[in-house]
């Protein structure tokens, strides 16, 4: 029987809120009793709920009085935790990516896929809504000058020109830190989001998770597609304090584990290319192919669980997986800046970097959180989309020369999310629906969707057996809260879409700007060699614009080349003239200008190469 995996858990002092698929459930934190559930609503309500699709974003206010959710339908729903009564439903302009509630519980702040952050009052005044909605409906009217219209009168806080993946409000709520798919991390005033305080730039891939630890409110931890975590001091001049490279790790056996994986990758890669050709058929087809690939993997190595997600239009198939490497530490090389300078810190990702090239690994951090464990220290904990492990490392309290070692705890099933609870316990939600590749007796311990993890001597260990039974909430989460789901339900869940949607798939061959020039563009080097070989020969009569694919360079390219050669010739002429003239001061000047000429020549050649190659 298929069930909905739990996607989010909010732990409160007395009540806890659980999100599973499209449903919300409220439990008593201490006894684990199921207090309320949307699954027990009457038929009409349930139908409406299910129409909204799985809950994509959710949050609770600080007092655990309200839970705010949003599904596939761009509707922002505010529920009362007590009784799960739906208080209001508002339309959002675009699909949300993150929802937060201010500490006073009065305002909801929502970021969306277009890149905007809007704020809405939590309590909807129905009379206000009616009168204002007349003037500002979802459609644009001629004459309205707002390009960021909002059907629910949200207030525009700020906007990125890219998918806004995540944001946080600082503890004093004076600043909002937002991250996007174009590697930007931006610190802006709140609520005056239009004043940008600074950027924390340095990521090379999309940023998908940001976190400000409660015990270090001036620090910011960011992560995303890069296999490193970056730690910033966001309040003063932005500088990277530490980068903790994320190690690949996993099973200690298999020498042929790596080879086996390679094989699989190749197989998947081939399928991936096939999938690309059928892009027109839509995601459904791709997902189907993805599942086939999955089944192939199952036949493979024991002890490796993988998730493969196939993206639309991507040549590479993307996997989130986890593998062990014994020599991780020795391969890791990093630098740390102790002073407030935005200096370049180079990170050699070692095994992961190489492997990422070969295996086309896509890394996407899901969530970063921190834990201050009494007697054991301060830690950072994070999870990655599709990875079966929970990662952790010591939180560097002061800039150190060596970044902390990232360790992990493998839970055998992909980690969907985790919540740091009181006393340092971490509640980990895993995707039980993913078939495990290993042959394992299906015991109780493997069928649980929620795992409890605790700290022991500075390491994360899973809490098993008798001890876990004392947590009646845990038992309840794994038994009474489990809701049935059909196969199509699970398909629409699409829990790993970030792996394909977040990375920027920019292939120079498919650059939209170049596509129109494809007919007329040639590789720069080709032009150089062609031009040099054809120097002195007349332009072939047959070649016209647009016929460059076969035959030589186009007329346009040849004309440009001719012009460039003329300029270069002139430069050389001047150089020679200078050299003749110069001695003494003149020679010095000549020397300087010679350098410049060299630079210009080099630049002319380089720039041609670089711009053409774009």
């Amino acid at each position: 029987m298929s069930v909905f995996p739990h996607s989010r858990l909010f732990l409160g002092p007395s009540k806890s809120v659980l999100i599973s698929g499209p449903h919300i459930q409220v439990l008593d934190t201490h006894t684990g009793n199921l207090l309320h559930s949307t699954a027990t609503l009457d038929g009409l309500e349930t139908a409406k709920l299910l129409k909204s699709g799985p809950v994509r974003c959710s949050t609770v206010d600080r007092g655990f009085t309200y839970v705010v959710t949003s599904g596939e339908d761009k509707k922002l729903k505010v529920w009362e935790v007590d009784g799960l009564k739906l208080l209001s439903e508002r339309e959002l302009p675009k699909k949300p990516t993150e929802i937060r509630v201010t500490q006073d519980g009065q305002t909801i702040v929502v970021s969306d896929k277009f890149g905007d952050i809007f704020s809405y009052p939590l309590h909807l005044d129905p009379s206000l809504e009616r009168t204002e909605s007349e003037g500002n409906t979802g459609t644009t009217k001629r004459g309205t000058l707002a390009s960021h219209e909002n059907p629910s009168n949200g207030t525009l806080i700020l906007g990125h020109t890219s998918l806004l993946t995540s944001f946080v409000l600082t503890s004093d709520e004076q600043f909002v830190i937002s991250a996007d798919r174009d590697e930007h991390v931006r610190v802006s005033w709140f609520p005056q989001g239009y004043v940008i305080e600074r950027y924390c730039l340095g990521h090379e891939k999309f940023v998908s998770a940001i976190h400000v630890p409660s015990f270090a409110p001036s620090q910011l931890v960011t992560g995303g597609g890069d296999p490193v975590l970056k730690l910033w001091d966001w309040m003063s001049e932005p500088f990277i304090v530490v980068k903790a490279p994320i190690s690949r790790y996993g099973r200690s056996d298999d020498d042929d584990g790596d080879d086996g994986e390679q094989e699989k990758v190749e197989k998947i890669g081939r399928r991936g290319r096939k999938g690309r050709g059928k892009k027109a058929k839509g995601k459904g087809k791709n997902e189907g192919v993805g599942e086939e690939a999955m089944q192939e993997q199952e036949q493979g190595e024991a002890g490796q669980s993988m998730v493969s997600a196939e993206g639309e239009g991507t040549e590479d198939v993307v996997m989130g997986d986890v593998e062990s490497e014994a020599q991780v530490e020795s391969e890791r090389v990093t630098q740390v800046q102790a002073e407030a300078q935005e200096a370049e810190a180079t990170t050699v990702e070692g095994a992961l970097g190489e492997a990422a090239e070969k295996d086309k690994l896509v890394f996407a951090l899901r969530r970063i959180d921190s834990a201050d464990v009494h007697g054991q220290g301060q830690f950072l904990v994070f999870s990655a989309v599709g990875a079966t492990a929970l990662f952790f490392c010591v939180f560097p309290s002061s800039p150190q020369t060596k970044p902390p070692v990232v360790q992990s705890l493998d839970l055998k099933k992909p980690v969907l999310d985790f919540t740091v609870g009181a006393g340092g316990h971490i509640w980990v939600l895993v995707d039980d629906e993913r078939p495990s590749t290993s042959e394992r007796p299906t015991g109780e311990s493997d069928e649980r969707a929620v795992r409890l993890v605790s700290w022991l001597d500075g390491k994360l260990v899973e809490v098993h057996g008798a001890e876990s039974k004392t947590f009646s909430l845990l038992t309840s989460l794994n038994t009474t809260c489990v809701l049935p789901a059909t196969a199509s339900d699970l398909k629409t869940l699409d829990l790993y879409s970030a792996l394909s949607s977040l990375p920027k798939n920019v292939d120079p061959e498919h650059d939209p700007m170049r596509r129109e020039n494809q007919n007329q563009n040639l590789d720069a080097f080709e032009i150089e060699s062609v031009a040099s070989s054809r120097a002195g020969t007349p332009i072939p009569g047959g070649s016209k614009k647009g016929k460059a694919k076969s035959g030589g360079p186009t007329q346009r390219e040849l004309a440009r080349m001719k012009n460039k050669k003329a300029v270069l010739a002139k430069m050389q002429e001047q150089e020679q003239a200078k050299m003749k003239v110069g001695d003494g001061a003149g020679a010095e000047l000549g020397g300087v200008t010679d350098e410049e000429r060299e630079n210009k020549k080099a630049r002319a050649a380089d720039s041609e190469g670089s711009v053409q190659a774009l």
Binding site: T107, F114, G115, T140, T144, L145, A146, S147, H148, G154, T155, L156, L158, G159, T161, S162, D182, P191, Q192, G193, Y194, V195, I196, R198, Y199, L201, G202, H203, E342, E344, N505, V506, D507, P508, P512, M513, R514, E516, N517, R556, R560, N563, V567, K570, M571, K578, V581, L589, T593, E595, E596, N599, K600, D606, S607, E608, S610, V611, Q612, L614
Partner: protein, 274 residues
């Protein structure tokens, strides 16, 4: 008589030669529109400190200067070429998203640097202070310029994006203004000009509504000595010349970047246009 003709011929030949060195636009034709939201295969620095300006302004390597003027969507470079000799000690950068057009400007700058080179070491060589990057200014402005590093920002004849659903692609929007205010220093000026009245109203109202910009009149700018800049803004670009040829009208709107005031407490609604 004969001598004068020979001299004239020689000068004509010299000019002809220089003309021959300048790139011809017809070899760089490209479609006018480019979607700024797409992921083009662009190269851009990870951060302003990672940007190597030495390849763009080799003559200024030792000064450690960074650009102060930025022409967003510079097209064929008319404005920059006009401004470069006026401000020889100021670095200026053009940003253009189209491949062919940015290549044209690059070739043009190289040609100008070569043909205008003089042997007098006293003054800086002409056109050494101007350069271009192929870039998506809407996305990556903060990657190139540190905070408050620009003194002038130019938006000349931007793409009007007439349709309502395309308004969000306009270069001036409530969200992008925050980024422009970030790279522009307080006291810095935004120059906008267009021949599309609707777009002029759009830009003017958005900039006026934005708390970090304040309108400044053309007369005031001219009084401050910025007259030559404004003249160049009106007539030095290809687009500007085309508007003149077609007897169109041009609307200028300039704004100054001011300091923000921290407002504590309740959320404000001034960003939301009704």
């Amino acid at each position: 008589m004969v001598k004068r003709k020979r001299v004239q011929d020689a000068r004509q030949r010299q000019q002809q030669q220089e003309q021959n060195l300048l790139p011809q636009k017809r070899h760089y034709r490209q479609r006018a529109h480019a979607n700024p939201f797409s992921d083009h295969a662009l190269e851009y620095p990870a951060s302003p400190s990672a940007m190597d300006w030495s390849s763009h302004y080799p003559a200024f390597v030792s000064t450690g200067k960074t650009p102060e003027f930025a022409d967003v969507g510079c097209g064929f470079g008319g404005l920059l070429i006009a401004l470069a000799p006026m401000f020889p000690d100021t670095l200026m950068l053009g940003m253009e998203i189209r491949v062919q057009v940015s290549q044209y400007v690059q070739d043009r700058i190289i040609a100008l640097r070569t043909t205008s080179a003089i042997s007098n070491a006293a003054s800086p060589e002409p056109y050494q202070n101007v350069s271009i990057v192929r870039a998506n200014a809407m996305k990556f402005m903060p990657n190139y310029f540190p905070k408050h590093s620009l003194s002038s920002l130019f938006f000349l004849f931007p793409d009007p994006h007439f349709k309502a659903r395309k308004h969000k692609a306009r270069i001036i929007s409530p969200t992008l203004l925050a980024e422009y205010a970030y790279v522009l220093r307080p006291g810095g000026i935004v120059y906008t000009i267009t021949d599309v009245h609707d777009l002029h109203e759009w830009m003017k109202s958005h900039l006026a509504a934005f708390p970090l910009f304040e309108p400044v009149a053309e007369e005031d700018l001219r009084a401050q000595g910025k007259g030559p800049i404004i003249d160049a803004v009106y007539s030095s670009t290809e687009e500007g010349k085309k508007v003149e040829r077609n007897n169109g009208q041009k609307w200028l709107a300039c704004f100054m970047r001011i300091e923000p005031r921290r407002i504590l407490g309740r959320l404000n609604t001034h960003l939301h246009q009704e």
